[in-house]
């Protein structure tokens, strides 16, 4: 239980906020892309893929991850299972 409250307190500290803000700032600096440009990229990826296959829009997850000093764009895009069209 104390772990839960400690975590709540921790998230409220200015050091935690500094770290979370810096994570995003450094990603944007390193790939030379603003947050809004990154959002546009995600929207375009989703749009492009959905032109070819039907995807589960609500479950799509596209995020930038730090791997050492490298950035990775991780996309998890669930596809909707195709309903077999009746042959006819």
């Amino acid at each position: 239980m104390s772990g839960f409250f400690e975590q709540l307190f921790h998230r409220d500290t200015s050091a935690y906020q500094a770290k979370e803000r810096m994570k995003l700032v450094l990603i944007n600096d390193r790939i030379n892309m603003s947050s809004s440009a990154l959002d546009n990229l995600k929207t375009e990826i989703i749009g492009f893929i959905s032109r070819h296959v039907e995807i589960d829009q609500d479950a799509v997850r596209i995020e930038m991850k730090q791997d050492g000093r490298q950035q990775r764009l991780i996309a998890d895009i669930p596809l909707k299972s195709s309903r077999r069209k009746s042959v006819g």
């Binding site: 307190f9 921790h10 500290t13 200015s14 050091a15 935690y16 500094a18 770290k19 803000r21 810096m22 994570k23 700032v25 450094l26 600096d29 390193r30 730090q66 050492g68 000093r69």
Partner: protein, 267 residues
């Protein structure tokens, strides 16, 4: 063995590059290594006052590079530490007076005579930084646990890698352990996780740094100073020794005073 070139850099100004250069130089010289510190901040000379050698300057870095004096004439020997030398920056010129290849040539000449060549880089990512990084074997990036300094350190680390002078080694300076404990300051672990580079040292905030700099005496010569101890350890790590990182102790704040009161029975 030819001497090694260490560049101390940071991106952001005011994080402690000059203090670190002076103290690492003094710590290495106190171990008997022959050391030269080069102030590469042309136009904003400061390493001379931090080392207490400001009254002995005749020739400077630009005089040496432009051939107006020989290296022996530009080298100022420290009186306390006979193995420590300074090449001061020119005060009335600017960074364009020196090129990266000038710095490489100068350092190659000095490698034969010195064990360690420490370069105090100017702030920024322009010509002065390029000059300071050109001849380097080990790039030490200094930051403070504070957002602007961390962001600039990340930029500098990226530039060092792009110039193939990496991997950069990180020195986290001016840590306030009490604030870290209260969640009011980024911890060394936070900074390391954000920057993802190898740590070479952590230096706590220490008022003795200011008072010793007032006197022009490097803090490593003060046996009791925590910052001095941290810099001595970093000097050993530069030489390849495996020295454990000092635990950060909380400065005596409110709780320290209370526990002292209890121990002394309220007096």
């Amino acid at each position: 063995m030819p001497g090694k070139v260490v560049t101390i850099t940071s991106g952001k100004g005011g994080v402690g590059k000059t203090t670190a250069t002076a103290n690492l130089g003094a710590a290495l010289a106190a171990e008997g290594k022959k050391v030269v510190c080069i102030d590469a901040d042309i136009g904003l000379r400061n390493l001379d006052v931090v080392l207490g050698l400001e009254n002995r300057i005749v020739y400077d870095l630009v005089d040496l590079i432009e051939g107006r004096c020989r290296s022996r004439q530009a080298l100022i020997r420290d009186k306390r530490l006979p193995e420590l030398f300074l090449i001061p920056a020119a005060q009335t010129r600017d960074k364009s007076a020196v090129s990266p290849s000038d710095m490489t040539r100068l350092c190659d000449d000095l490698r034969g005579e010195f064990d360690w060549i420490l370069i105090d880089s100017p702030a920024g990512i322009e010509r002065g930084f390029r000059n300071a990084i050109a001849p380097t074997d080990i790039a030490v990036v200094i930051t403070n646990p504070e957002v602007a300094a961390v962001r600039d350190a990340d930029r500098i680390i990226g530039l060092i890698e792009a110039e193939e002078k990496g991997p950069a080694r990180l020195l986290i300076n001016r840590i306030k352990p009490g604030m870290v404990k209260r969640g009011e300051m980024l911890s060394p672990d936070d900074v390391l996780e954000l920057l993802a580079v190898e740590l070479i040292g952590m230096v706590p905030e220490d008022e003795v740094v200011i008072t010793s700099t007032n006197r022009g005496t490097p803090v490593v010569l003060d046996g009791k100073s925590k910052a001095g101890q941290a810099f001595r350890n970093i000097a050993k790590r530069l030489q390849g020794e495996k020295i454990p990182f000092l635990p950060l102790e909380e400065e005596s704040g409110f709780f320290g005073k209370i526990s002292k009161l209890i121990r002394t029975g309220g007096n």
